[in-house]
Symmetry: C3
Subunit: 150 residues, 3 copies
């Protein structure tokens, strides 16, 4: 699905795309390479990219993109910080659901990255991730919003 | 209070409103229905909505909007994670003030939601909340900023 | 370094600056006074300011700007919450690196502040901070993005 609107003037654009991302039973999935072509195809040179996740039991995260051990440590830390063994009121959707909501509150539902000279202004070590907090594979919906000057 | 500015061209708008929200002694107050009419009245079809909270002892949160038990569990988890019984240097504003600052650091001062086809692109289960971390009722100030194409 | 683009029409602007901030061995460095002149010089009256940090072992934070004890308590709480003594897989960059990544995940890589009547809409007690999570002094790169109407 793609919703796209461009101004009639050559200088100001708002551009949106909706992505469906499967999270195949692993907690952190890098999505940088799925966002970059949307930025490039928008033609925006100076602007802002917002990535928004339409869910309350998964997160967006900008994190280290090189060593997979960082991702293992992140997942292990959060599993210990928000244990399934804790006593919760909200249990109807399974033991991993309330921890997923808390992990989402502790992290982020959206990320904002400036677009500088037509590219995301990510640092050398920054990657964009979707963080699945449920144990079963899910398909998660993202909205990518771009605004700026071409 | 309403600050509103619209471009002379028909296509690009920046629109702002300032809200005062009382938090009546309960931690989480849903404010989705107070943001939605601002989006609708702005006339923006494709854009971005930013909600910004002007305080350091309360948070904004996008969370599950259906089961009140989720809100009880969120509050209970954070009360345990950041206990008032911990020894703090900053105690002059009462035992709940420093925990409130830490809870704010762990959550969010602003939330961004794309506007798609004139509506907030919230998922089915997503609601926007103000999370009061002080024990007394407060009135909290929010700035809602919208940019986009009508 | 300054990258600046302004529309040909008098009403809509996107403006960016890149800052290099040294963090001199102290965890929290207030940067509000380095962002404010960028807002003022942009000439934007109604808009949005995004501050983005190009790193995964330091954070941005909007927090209490008056009592230094708040900053001491924030640092002490996070040092206890994410201890260096925990067993991590990712250890090649030193014992403070993986805790730094986790502390970044728990806080924020960007902050958004509306610009109202030409000024950041920060509350009375809000300051913008860079939070260094590594123990050695670093120089950290920020991108400040402004969009809005002049």
């Amino acid at each position: 699905m793609t919703y796209q609107t461009k101004n009639l003037t050559p200088t100001t654009y708002h551009h949106q795309e909706v992505l469906q991302i499967p999270t195949r039973g692993k907690p952190l999935t890098k999505i940088t390479s799925q966002i970059e072509p949307i930025v490039r195809d928008s033609g925006i040179q100076t602007g802002l990219c917002t990535v928004f996740l339409c869910h309350t039991s998964a997160s967006l995260l900008i994190q280290e993109n090189a060593d997979p051990d960082v991702l293992r440590d992140l997942e292990a830390f959060f599993a210990d910080l928000v244990p399934e063994s804790r006593s919760y009121y909200h249990t109807t959707e399974g033991p991993d659901d309330m921890p997923a909501h808390i992990r989402t509150a502790l992290t982020h539902t959206s990320e904002q990255i400036p677009v500088v000279r037509g590219r995301l202004a990510l640092g050398t070590w920054q990657g964009i991730y979707i963080w699945e907090h449920r144990q079963r594979s899910q398909t998660r919906q993202l909205v990518v919003h771009l605004s700026g000057n071409a």
